[in-house]
Amino acid sequence: MGIFGRRRAPGHPHPRQEPVFAAPLCQAALERAFANCADFRSRTLALAGDPRKEVVLCAVEGMVRTERVNDYVLRPMAQDAALAALPLEGCYARLASGGLYNLSVSPAESTDQAVFALLDGGVVLLFPALGKALICATATEEKRSVGDPEDEPAVKAAKDSFVESLRTNTSLVRRRLRSVSLRVEEEIVGRQSRTPVDVLYLEGIADPATVAEVRRRLGAMDLDGVLDAGHLEQYLCDRLDTPFPQLLATQRPDRLCANLLSGRVGVLVDGLAVAFVLPAALALFLTAEQDGTDNWMVSVGVTVLRYAALLLTLFLPALYVSAVLFHPEMIPLPLAKSVIAAKEDVPFATLFEVVMLLLAFEVIQEAGLRLPGNLGQTVSILGGLVVGSAAVEAKIVSPAVLIVVAAAGVAGYTVPSQDLTGAVRLWRLTLTLAAGVAGLLGVSLAGAALVGHLAGLTSFGVPYLTPFAAATGEQVEGHALFRVPFPRTKLRPASLKSRNRRNQR
């Protein structure tokens, strides 16, 4: 029995019909495919006004840009004088070879191809008399405009962020990396969603084995749809039995580009306003875009502070519980007196108090996140300040516990990655419970279990604790904690197995 229940014996395969539409390509086949679809449109046209030269135009409304269909497809078919003089076969050849004004016009070979082109926003021109069809790219590009990266703000850095349109996102990358080495490979994932997923990497810099592994994992994804980040993350990551993230999600094109330059691989998904970066070891989740823009000494200071805050948020409640319950001698006399005075008249056990407050903190945080902007802030303030101080005054919790939990919670916000914060929150609770069972011994054992768990994780072959516990015996450049100035960071990280480690003269 695994943590996800009993393993099931391989049963029936996920039924898959190949091809999806076996009928020959014709108007009736497309109408059957789109039966009961109010947004499917077909229109019979006469080329150059000649009723013998019949063409059927098919499109899915909302997916096409109407102006493009009118100007690039309908107008030339109606007004091109040359079409009147040509036989139907000649008209087909002329339209396929430049008579239409679209960027892309290609012949359709099968009903499947035509159906999926329609779903992608294309227009299909059927030539019933010839049994042929053309696909014209007329997809709409309606999208949210590029805005600020709200989840990853940075001073002295670019202000654009990824949007839900895949092509816009690849263009944001291309504008920064104007290199012919930038590869953008596309894979369609999801039987029903048919979501384009792009793999970005720099040829000659990224490890080909990593790229091949990403390709393999994407190719092996056989699911109904990729609608959110979790779908992709859970299929691409190495292990599922861990709360720790194994892919870095970023809203920032500049951050993705920096990682591509260091030899990592990026994954962009149509419909998601984030990019995934891999391989991603623990240290990557503790870096922020701001680190690169700050003075290197300031950056080192902030990074050290961030690591200290990570330890604080993980261990502070557990250490408090241990000290108060098992090792009061650790607490200096004046502080011990304060703790005793604060604990007086509080009816709950210390462990219960701490766990209850940790959970309350999570509840307030969730409530603040789920509510829109100002309302969320109000709930956080109301929950945090008013309820917190009222609970202390009512002697439901002791002020010391409130301070410990609040300090641990606030310290957790210094971790730049929300995915890592989630894992840390789970482990904080585990460590606190371990402290309640066996004091410092429990904390030590749970801490050792945490380190052991982290040491067992990998992200696309890169040990999760790189470069702290696994430097693969090679020189580490661009250290995780003590960053050296950029002019002296001449090599890409060894762990990424880049084919070209030197990044500057």
Partner: protein
């Protein structure tokens, strides 16, 4: 068969519940506690322990007897309306009859004792010093910081005794209601 394999999960849930409710935890709550700050030890056996502390800024003391140091400690913990914690004892006063080497060693190896508490000798019974003095804990802190003779810590005293076979300790006496250092005495092992 659907329930098979859920036993470990149920046990885990039970353990977590017990811990959260405080039934499974082996720790002691720091509530309804008085912290003893000075401890007087009299006699080779039976042993009389006198603990002094401050409760809401008032001096308090408790006394307990036992056939040996460990039993006397247990007995002392049960005295009074609040639990007496000996984890923050900062001054250890040994009476004239107390076997110094053995007591130092037992205190040093005791889980609840800190090895940084200072060690003193008393001219009369150590318990009488603590019960007869006015604000003994505060006075002992003053003597520790600004007294005429520096008192060694428990660790220093035990180490010196083990290495050299002798240790010099300051001697306390009661003058009226005030504790004073009246000299030093060298104690030899055995």
């Amino acid at each position: 068969m659907r329930g098979r394999g859920r036993g470990p999960l149920a046990l885990l849930a039970l353990a977590v519940s017990l811990v959260v409710l405080g039934r499974g935890a082996g720790g002691r709550e720091l509530s309804n506690v008085t912290l003893a700050q000075a401890l007087g030890v009299d006699g080779p056996g039976p042993v009389t322990l006198t603990a002094a502390g401050e409760e809401e800024d008032r001096a308090m003391w408790e006394r307990a007897d036992g056939p040996d140091l460990a039993r006397a400690r247990e007995e002392l913990g049960r005295r009074g309306t609040t639990r007496l914690e000996l984890t923050h004892v900062a001054q250890l006063i040994l009476g004239p009859e107390t076997p110094v080497g053995e007591t130092l060693w037992r205190e040093l190896t005791n889980r609840d004792s800190g090895c940084t508490s200072t060690v003193w000798l008393s001219q009369g019974p150590a318990g009488d010093l603590l019960t007869g003095a006015e604000e003994p804990c505060r006075r002992l802190r003053t003597l520790e910081e600004d007294g005429p003779v520096r008192a060694p810590t428990l660790l220093e005293a035990a180490r010196t005794l083990a290495e050299t076979g002798r240790v010099t300790l300051p001697v306390l006496a009661l003058t009226g209601a005030e504790l004073r250092v009246v000299g030093v005495r060298t104690v030899e092992e055995g």
